[in-house]
Amino acid sequence: MLKLIKYELRKQMLSKVIMAVVMVLLTALFMFVTYKNDHRAAYATLAVLFLTMVIAITYSAIEIATYFGKDITTKQGYMLFMIPYGSKTILAAKMLSAIVQVLITTILFGFLLALCVSVYLWKNYNAKTFFEGLIMLLEYVFEIDIQLGTVINTIIIILMFWVLAVTLSMFLDTVSTTLFVNRYKWSTIVCVAVYFLLFYLIIQGLYMVESIPIPESIFNPIGYIYMIIIDFALFFGTAWLMDKKLSI
């Protein structure tokens, strides 16, 4: 499976390199404006850096969905489906390579952010701890209250939504290629509409599930469990369709 992941990453290498270059350039810009004591520009550059990361992660999801679409509808798919791997393994490899890409993006961002903040603090203040400085910076720029637990919770939720977005798109892609190609071709607008509709319905389900009263506890896992079940259902559904119905 590792080799599959390797090739999935290789396919999307170009966009990752571009993203990395842009982020490094922004960091260099930050260094420059910090040196020039242009505080507003410094905050703006950091905001743009953050925005770049968000765009990169969003784009990764779109790219994965696009490549998957190509794999199941064009001859390029032969590369994936001639090799002796089952659909579940192939899908899992795609998912894992997707997560790896998100990790690379966020770690790079984290590293560059740490670099920027350190340089800023060194230039403008005396030896405050890094975290104090970081929180101060974030609170100033984004005007929000930071607590570690909330941060981690937010990250996990974002990751889950991201995984859902990718899994749902691969599922719908497979459905339209296998079950509907004989009856009527879905136009792009219909596809996008169905996608957002299903996404919305799943989130509604999440709210319903979360409102079920459970005994008092610090940590309410029911939302996570629901999302995981949905993700697995979509995953296995996609794999089953690929195995039984997919013809390239």
């Binding site: 090739y7 390029q76 590369m79 090799i83 119905k245």
Partner: protein, 228 residues
């Protein structure tokens, strides 16, 4: 080693394969013959696992087509399919990564024979060169069942000789080769059997030498009879 019963594949408006039932034996070389659109490619793709049958069964060594059969079945399609960023060498590495029976040094030899450069990007190859790379990659595998779809198409005469030589070198008692082609005359001298497909059905399966001995007819003669 390969058995198909009442194989059928329909698409929205057309029937690509109507009814194919046949049995292939180990160690033989078969020609898959028939005009364009008769279902040869669809048949091969079903055996390769790329197309799922609408009806009927295929079994490879008494197993369903799947992960295990893909380990031993090598399919060479007519269309190009490599990833755009790859070089000729990358194609070899890909095959080496996923197929245990792939022999990298055999691949290098074949690429050399066909006068290709390992460092060329695949999206810079002409149709003829692409065909050679596909062939080299497929034949460098020590597969048990080779499915070659029109391997001689668009290839110049001298290279065709090299390709036939490569095929004959790959042939043996433990593998089966199915070659689909229009160029019946080129295949005539070395095939064991011929599978004639007409309108998605297999009209007949003939043993080449038997047809000569008993009926005094060559494959070319049979072809003209069946499709006239």
């Amino acid at each position: 080693m390969l058995e198909c019963k009442n194989l059928r594949k329909t698409y929205f408006r057309k029937t690509a394969v109507d009814n194919i039932s046949l049995e292939l034996e180990e160690g033989k070389i078969y020609a898959l013959l028939g005009p364009n659109g008769s279902g040869k490619t669809t048949f091969m793709k079903m055996v390769a696992g790329l197309v799922k049958p609408t009806q009927g069964t295929i079994s490879y060594k008494n197993q369903q087509i799947g992960v295990n059969s893909k380990k031993e079945v090598a399919y060479m399609s007519t269309e190009p399919y490599f990833y755009n960023y790859m070089t000729v060498e990358d194609v070899g590495k890909y095959y080496a990564d996923f197929f245990e029976d792939f022999d990298m040094s055999a691949y290098r030899e074949l690429v050399d024979e066909m006068e290709l450069d390992m460092q060329t990007r695949v999206n810079k190859l002409s149709t003829g060169m692409m065909a050679k790379v596909k062939l080299a990659a497929t034949l460098a595998r020590k597969a048990k069942l080779y499915l070659l779809d029109e391997p001689l198409n668009g290839i110049d005469l001298l290279t065709r000789e090299k390709i036939v030589t490569a095929i004959l070198k790959a042939a043996g008692e433990d593998c089966t080769i199915v070659i689909s082609s229009h160029l019946v005359e080129e295949l005539e001298s070395f095939i064991d059997g011929a599978i004639f497909i007409k309108n998605g059905c297999n009209v007949m399966v003939g043993d080449a030498e038997e047809m000569r001995e008993i009926q005094g007819k060559s494959i070319v003669d049979m072809y003209k009879e069946i499709y006239a």
